[in-house]
């Protein structure tokens, strides 16, 4: 068991996982509290368009994927700000369009397209040092944003209308949060893949919400759920020789089930 820790690919995977798990765990609280689960799915699927473009242009797919994810985040914020179209409708439209673009790009790409599978379902062995630097940078940016605007974010979560009336820059807060979510999606793509990343952004916060009776407790539980799921998921996937991303998501689902059971036992 300990020999696995000596492999550099596993060390990279663990480090990347801890960063992605922590970042998603942190943002998951906002996603769950604001009932924005669909945005995670929308942004991750938008990233598919970017990954395909990267394969078509033979460049690092994460760069166009990040671009697509951020454009999706900004597009949702901008188009939904007028209130004329429901946010979920906009997400649905942009997500489908981006997926469609992805399919077109893939059909145009020549040569081997098998690597797209690693982005769809995650491949922890594919994490490179360059990915780690990128992941560290976006994690830092997101954490700094959350720390700097923590009280405005809390007001935004709790009572968006009154926060806006009282002069809190809600549009800035919302755009910043959506960009952080876009970063988290890109950071997690190598871990759990585009298809399962929504779970990574939703389940930690749902666990926190089930158990947390105070806001800071909710954050701690969500953060720990994200990090622990990665550690346990990676070891279990190695021991059982099963896909790491899916294992991490299943560990999170197990945590959530336990949280619900604990909640129903102790709340009686």
């Amino acid at each position: 068991m300990s020999e696995i820790l000596s492999y550099s690919f596993f060390q990279r995977a663990l480090f990347a996982g801890l960063l992605a798990g922590g970042l998603c765990g942190l943002l998951s609280v906002y996603i769950i509290s604001k009932q924005m689960a669909f945005i995670g799915q929308g942004i991750s699927h938008a990233a598919f368009g970017g990954v395909s473009l990267g394969l078509l242009l033979s460049i690092d797919p994460l760069i166009p994927a990040a671009f697509f994810a951020v454009i999706m985040a900004l597009g949702v914020a901008w188009l939904s700000s007028s209130g004329r179209t429901n946010r979920d409708t906009i997400i649905g439209i942009l997500m489908a369009s981006s997926m469609a673009l992805g399919v077109v790009f893939l059909s145009l790409a020549k040569g081997y397209k098998g690597s797209v599978i690693s982005y769809l379902f995650g491949n922890i062995l594919a994490v490179t040092n360059k990915d780690l630097i990128w992941l560290t940078a976006v994690s830092l940016i997101s954490v700094i944003f959350v720390l700097l605007f923590r009280k405005e974010l809390t007001f935004f979560l709790f009572d968006e209308r009154i926060a806006r009336i009282s002069g809190i820059p809600i549009n800035l807060i919302q755009i910043g949060l959506l960009i952080c979510i876009a970063f988290a999606v890109i950071a997690s793509v190598h871990m759990v893949g585009i298809i399962l990343v929504t779970a990574f952004l939703v389940i930690p916060g749902a666990i926190g919400q089930t158990l947390g009776r105070r806001l800071y407790v909710l954050f701690v539980i969500s953060l720990l759920s994200g990090i622990l799921s990665v550690i346990i998921g990676l070891f279990v996937s190695y021991l059982l020789n099963i896909p790491s991303g899916a294992t991490i998501v299943l560990v999170l689902t197990f945590f959530f089930g336990m949280a619900r059971i604990a909640n129903s036992l102790f709340s009686k």
Partner: protein, 260 residues
């Protein structure tokens, strides 16, 4: 009691929703130390008028002046208006305490990138004490009753030391007894803080018992001085010809007399 300079002044405000005229040439002045009751039927434009004062929507015509300065020029930083919304539709999914909720009223004053300090905590505790909810300080706001929530959100509206307070149907969702106690508390706050208060209601009993001045709004605005003498004609102009004055809203209690 009335001073020369109004806190809020509406000059010839009109508002259209599509083709429909919702507000027609509204003129209103709110002075410090005055509790103005705004009476009117559902759809009469009461909430729209508050939203215009708060800067949420722009009128099609007219001007809103805060302390004599057009609202657009004042900006959020210096506008001192507290607001209690009609629906308590905050997010109950996040575990926020009463103290944290009240503190949110100070976030704009604290400014970006800074944490609440001792002064802010003291202000929050003072507002909590004013609303007589010290025993709720550490409770989760999502678990409170309608009346308790109303007090917490009023404390949040008061914590940044506003000059005016706008309340949209504060009696909605609470029982008559709680509503009556809350209105007496508002009158006390008006006197202690010299607040100008506008409270919107469609409950004629609440309005006539507690307001210093009464205005009836159904697209256009008509003022009635206290002691309130709303005639049947006034009442029908506001609520429609089919309305009849029948009975008091508090049949089991003896309340201060009025003419309605």
């Amino acid at each position: 009691m009335q001073q020369d300079k109004p806190i809020i002044e509406l000059r010839n405000i009109s508002f259209l929703r599509g083709e429909a005229l919702v507000l027609d040439s509204i003129n209103l002045k709110l002075y410090p130390g005055i509790l103005l009751g705004l009476l009117g039927p559902n759809g009469g434009g009461k909430t729209t008028l508050l939203r215009i004062i708060l800067g949420e929507i722009e009128p099609d015509n007219g001007a809103v002046l805060i302390d004599g300065v057009p609202r657009k020029k004042v900006g959020h930083d210096t506008i001192k208006i507290g607001y209690l919304p009609q629906k308590h539709d905050f997010n109950r999914n996040i575990p926020i305490t009463v103290l944290q909720t009240v503190m949110m009223g100070r976030y704009k004053d604290i400014g970006l990138f800074r944490s609440p300090g001792k002064k802010d905590r003291e202000a929050a505790m003072k507002a909590i004490a004013m609303l007589d909810i010290e025993d709720l300080t550490d409770r989760l706001v999502g678990e409170l009753s309608g009346g308790q929530t109303q007090r917490v959100l009023t404390a949040r509206a008061l914590v940044s030391y506003p000059e005016a307070l706008l309340l949209d149907e504060p009696e909605a969702g609470v029982d008559i007894e709680t509503s009556d106690r809350f209105m007496r508390l508002l009158a006390q706050l008006r006197d202690e803080l010299n607040l100008g208060i506008i409270f919107v209601s469609h409950d004629i009993g609440t309005i006539t018992r507690h307001a210093d001045k009464i205005a009836c709004l159904n697209r256009s605005l008509h003022f009635h001085d206290k002691p309130c003498r709303l005639s049947k004609d006034d009442f029908q102009k506001t609520f429609g010809k089919e309305c009849e004055l029948l009975m008091h809203t508090i049949p089991t209690r003896s309340v201060e007399g009025h003419d309605v």
